[in-house]
């Protein structure tokens, strides 16, 4: 089996979540979702990726409001959101918790309510980040999935609860329960998140990397240090 960085694995999971999507937008500071999107585009050339803060060749010629207007028009079907806190009802908090101040809500309050498929993504998987109830809801909505550095959850719209779909290599259901601050459903036997294929890794490193390095230079230098 090929060796790979955890970031590469997460990007592969994201690319798989994007099946059937037509147009994903990627907000500020989201290099792993960006890798996932460009990987998806490598599989489906008709899939469109818009990087909000692309440094060169920025697709938005109506200024920074164009992303939000596009979403309002229904022309974006996937967006990614993170959170200093994410709770069991899918709410995210980007503002403040436990006396700490975070950067702020960005466009989340709007995008979560408007874009049909919002993928929640946060690498840190702990009771600090995954909480029963956020202290401040920057945004509420119905997520398509929640991906962390340890596991993948789906969202059950009817129950308004997460369901554990798979754990990443090295994690068990019990550990995930231990590290998750909110309750969630799962089967007794939770599968392991499928590893990146050789083809996926090759596409990331040959096709996706240059695009990422131009827009997320620190991330690229960290994940692919020897290139």
């Amino acid at each position: 089996m090929d060796s790979y960085a955890p970031e590469e694995h997460l990007a592969c999971v994201i690319a798989r979540l994007l099946e059937g999507a037509r147009h994903a937008a990627v907000g500020a500071s989201s290099p792993i979702p960006a890798v996932g999107c460009f990987l998806r585009k490598n599989i489906d050339p008709a899939f469109r990726v818009s990087l909000q803060q692309r440094r060169e060749s920025n697709p938005f010629t109506e200024g920074s409001r164009e992303l939000f207007d596009l979403a309002g028009q229904g022309r974006i079907d996937v967006f990614f959101l993170g959170g200093a806190q994410i709770d069991g009802e899918g709410a995210i908090n980007l503002v403040r918790a436990e006396g700490k101040r975070f950067p702020g809500s960005f466009g989340s309050a709007y995008m979560y309510g408007v874009v049909p498929r919002t993928i929640l993504f946060r690498e840190e998987h702990s009771r600090r980040t995954l909480v029963p109830k956020v202290e401040f809801a920057s945004a509420r909505g119905a997520p398509a999935a929640l991906l962390t550095g340890r596991a993948l959850f789906s969202w059950q719209k009817d129950k308004r609860r997460f369901r554990l779909e798979s754990v990443h290599p090295g994690n068990t259901l019990a550990q995930i329960r231990e590290r998750t601050g909110f309750e969630f459903d799962s089967s007794d036997q939770v599968p392991e998140t499928a590893a990146p294929s050789t083809a996926e890794l090759e596409a990331i490193r040959k096709k996706v990397k240059p695009e990422i390095a131009a827009n997320y230079p620190e991330f690229a230098a960290r994940v692919w240090p020897n290139s």
Binding site: S29, G63, S64, F68, G113, A137
Partner: protein, 271 residues
């Protein structure tokens, strides 16, 4: 109204910004007039109320750390890949800075309302956010939230070119046009002066903000440094990341100020 005034330098432009002004600033990726930001710190500006269009970054963190800012309305303050904005975070946690949290499209709407001279603009989709509870000035009306107009006293930004007619070219950064339309005073630094009138040139005109809106201008080559100017120079990521580390402590921040902003010979960017 009678055309834009060319001033001598960034210091003279900073002198146009009164203490206490509602000052609109673009995010780090959108042509920040950093040389004027540094001049504001040097002139010891006080009580500024910053508006993020729609978010803020390095410029706000510097002004906040230097004690120039009383309050901030923004959708976020962030140094992007370099992480949290340390002086902003510290000031809020110590309750020495008032923050009116917003969300990006609400700020765009508020500026578009001012651009049109209407009292509010409707915004859909944000009903689930606690922002709506917190912002008493946002009114829920059926499926939309009515966001009141924001008319900044001053908008400050950097442009690729200015021309003899006082027009400026900002390329695809059209949010700068919106904020220029919405603001009472528009102060602009520019990289280079072009002869003639860019509105005569079909290719240049689409990226122009016309002199109708521009109050005063000053030449400031590499004036966005350490942020970037697309097509001319990139952001100095290393410098921003060093700032982010230094400014984690008050001492480190003051040392940065001394070294990069207050000491005249180092106050301009490396060429």
């Amino acid at each position: 109204m009678s055309g834009s005034a060319f001033l001598g330098n960034a210091e003279e432009l900073a002198a146009q910004i009164p203490d206490g002004a509602l000052l609109a600033l673009p995010p780090d990726y959108s042509l920040v007039a950093m040389e004027v930001v540094r001049a504001l710190i040097r002139k010891k500006a006080r009580g500024l109320r910053l508006l993020g269009v729609p978010i803020l970054g390095l410029s706000a963190d510097l002004l906040i750390g230097a004690g120039c800012v009383a309050e901030v309305e923004t959708s976020a303050v962030s140094l992007g890949e370099a992480g949290l904005a340390p002086r902003f975070t510290d000031a809020v946690e110590k309750k020495s800075l008032l923050v009116r949290d917003a969300t990006c499209p609400a700020i765009h709407c508020a500026l578009q309302a001012a651009e049109k001279g209407v009292p509010f603009m409707p915004l859909a989709g944000i009903g689930g956010s606690d922002l709506v509870k917190e912002r008493k000035d946002w009114k829920v009306q059926g499926d939309v939230v009515l966001v009141p107009a924001i008319r900044p006293d001053v908008a400050l930004f950097h442009a690729r070119w200015a021309d003899e007619a006082g027009n400026v070219w900002v390329g695809r950064r059209r949010e700068l046009a919106t904020v220029a339309h919405a603001s009472r005073l528009n102060l602009v630094t520019f990289e280079e002066k072009k002869p003639g009138d860019m509105l005569d040139d079909e290719l240049l005109a689409p990226g122009v903000i016309s002199s109708i809106y521009i109050s005063a201008l000053a030449h400031a080559p590499r004036g966005a440094w350490p942020l970037g100017m697309p097509g001319l120079y990139g952001a100095d990521d290393l410098h921003v990341s060093q700032y982010a580390k230094a400014a984690r402590t008050r001492e480190g921040f003051l040392k940065y100020l001394e070294e990069w902003i207050l000491t005249p010979r180092k106050s301009t960017s490396p060429a």
